[in-house]
């Protein structure tokens, strides 16, 4: 199989055809194992009986030819070539008793196994793809019905949750008991009652502070709540159309007066 160095100028037609065929072939192989499998088919025997020695020779010749044609061979082809050259020498030489590595026969048997396995996988792959396939040979339901997903959320809480929730509120640091501290709290209702009574006598603008009861003016806490309640009450009365409210400036005293019918 040795060939003259490839030269474009002097190459015969046959050489060029051979070279092109090789280029095509190298591209068509999926790696050295694929190439070996193809080569082994030329032996026309069951893969179990394939002569690995003959196969190694064929492969090496192939690689040699590719090199002589200055074809770029991928590294793994060369690695395989080196390995097959090693295997060839193992198969040809009598076993070295000092070498406890695998024998040439073992290595050859494994290569044969790999080739047979690859071949088998290709066969079953073809059988698999040859099967009836969904949406090509058999079909699923064409008119599907949506299944309405009704999501029902139920909430749960136990009595303990409830009690703990309440306890949590009642033990809060800033907890102020509800409707308790009546002594120092003027409610809006109280202020409203008082204001309703007094406003009838106030025809002119009067400072809202003057409506605070005497006993709510000294203690700052009591004055604050009374002021707030009275102011809120005055807003309520203004809403009802009973009084007018004015404030001259920010933070200036707030004045109220009774609204007369002609104003309304």
């Amino acid at each position: 199989m040795a060939q003259e160095p490839f030269d474009l100028g002097e190459a015969s037609v046959a050489e060029r055809v051979a070279a092109e065929a090789l280029i095509v072939d190298v591209g068509a192989f999926e790696g050295p194992l694929d190439l070996l499998l193809t080569l082994s088919r030329t032996q026309k025997v069951d893969l179990r009986q394939v002569s690995i020695l003959a196969l190694a020779r064929q492969y090496l010749a192939f690689v040699e030819q590719a090199r002589s044609l200055r074809l770029e061979l991928a590294a793994d082809y060369l690695v395989m070539a080196a390995w097959l050259a090693f295997l060839k020498s193992r198969l040809l030489l009598p076993p070295d008793p000092t070498d406890d590595g695998p024998s040439g026969e073992e290595l050859a048997a494994h290569l044969a196994f790999q080739l047979e396995r690859l071949e088998a996988m290709r066969t079953v792959a073809a059988r698999l793809m040859g099967r009836d396939q969904l949406r090509r040979d058999f079909f699923p339901r064409g008119i599907t019905e949506d299944v309405a997903r009704v999501r029902r959320v139920t909430y749960t809480a136990s009595l303990l949750d409830l009690m703990q929730g309440y306890a949590r509120i009642r033990t809060r640091d800033d907890f102020r008991p509800f409707v308790m501290d009546r002594e120092n709290l003027m409610t809006m209702e109280e202020a409203l009652d008082r204001l309703r009574e007094m406003i009838g006598f106030a025809g002119d603008w009067t400072d809202i502070a003057s409506y605070l009861p005497m006993d709510w003016q000294e203690d700052p806490v009591r004055r604050r709540t009374a002021t707030a309640a009275t102011f809120a009450a005055s807003l309520e009365l203004a809403k009802e159309g009973r009084i007018d409210i004015r404030q001259g400036d920010t933070f200036a005293p707030i004045h109220i007066r009774k609204r007369t019918p002609r104003d309304g």
């Binding site: 079909f139 299944v147 997903r149 959320v153 139920t154 009595l159 009690m163 929730g165 008991p177 501290d181």
Partner: protein, 206 residues
């Protein structure tokens, strides 16, 4: 496999035509008219007759052959429509805000929104109240006779059922809560311990 249209000049047996109708109507995305069926089936077929047989075969089954205008399709038997619903029940724990709001209403009912907010110290979202109303655990009570006539909330009998209470007065009082170790902090000094029953009387003595 060879297309029977090319090779058959005799129509396939009616049993085969039935199978064809089944397969076509099963797999197509749209109902099919007789003409469309005939166009798909081998020459010489009689889709009208085959269709009649198929229709008979599926009578009373879980799917039936239905006529939709001029076309035909398999449809779920009407009485099995409920199978096309898949109910997923999700159980969630009530949010802390909802629990606290509910607890306040239970202990203080009737309670206005302003009162709930005062006790919780934060505003109560409309959604929280809506959720509790939807759960049928609270409902609107009488309007409070105070300015603005605010609505009040009270707990429902459904609430009592759910929490295994005969009346809201069965709710443990603060003393019991403390005894149960639920109230660890003492109230700030100078404040009196309220009797939780107080605020509930007007509702439950009606």
């Amino acid at each position: 496999m060879a297309d029977p249209r090319d090779s058959l000049f005799e129509a396939p047996p009616m049993a085969d035509q039935e199978r064809m109708i089944e397969a076509i109507l099963f797999a197509t995305a749209d109902p099919m008219t007789l003409a469309q069926l005939a166009g798909r089936m081998p020459h010489g077929c009689d889709p009208a007759t085959a269709l009649a047989y198929v229709r008979k075969r599926y009578e009373g089954r879980g799917v039936t052959l239905m006529r939709i205008g001029e076309a035909w399709a398999f449809r779920t038997a009407p009485d099995l429509g409920y199978l096309m619903q898949h109910e997923v029940v999700e159980t969630r724990k009530l949010s802390r805000a909802a629990i606290e709001t509910l607890a306040i209403i239970a202990y203080h009912q009737p309670a206005t929104r302003a009162e709930i907010e005062e006790i919780r110290g934060v505003s109560v979202s409309r959604g929280t109240l809506d959720q509790l109303i939807e759960l049928d655990w609270i409902r609107l009570g009488r309007r409070r006779m105070s300015p603005g006539r605010p609505v009040t909330f009270i707990v429902t009998s459904h609430f009592l059922d759910h929490f295994g209470l005969e009346t809201a007065r069965d709710l443990p009082g603060l003393k019991e809560l403390r005894a149960a170790g639920l109230l660890e902090n003492r109230p700030p000094p100078g404040t009196e311990e309220p009797d939780a029953d107080d605020s509930q009387d007007d509702l439950f003595e009606e």
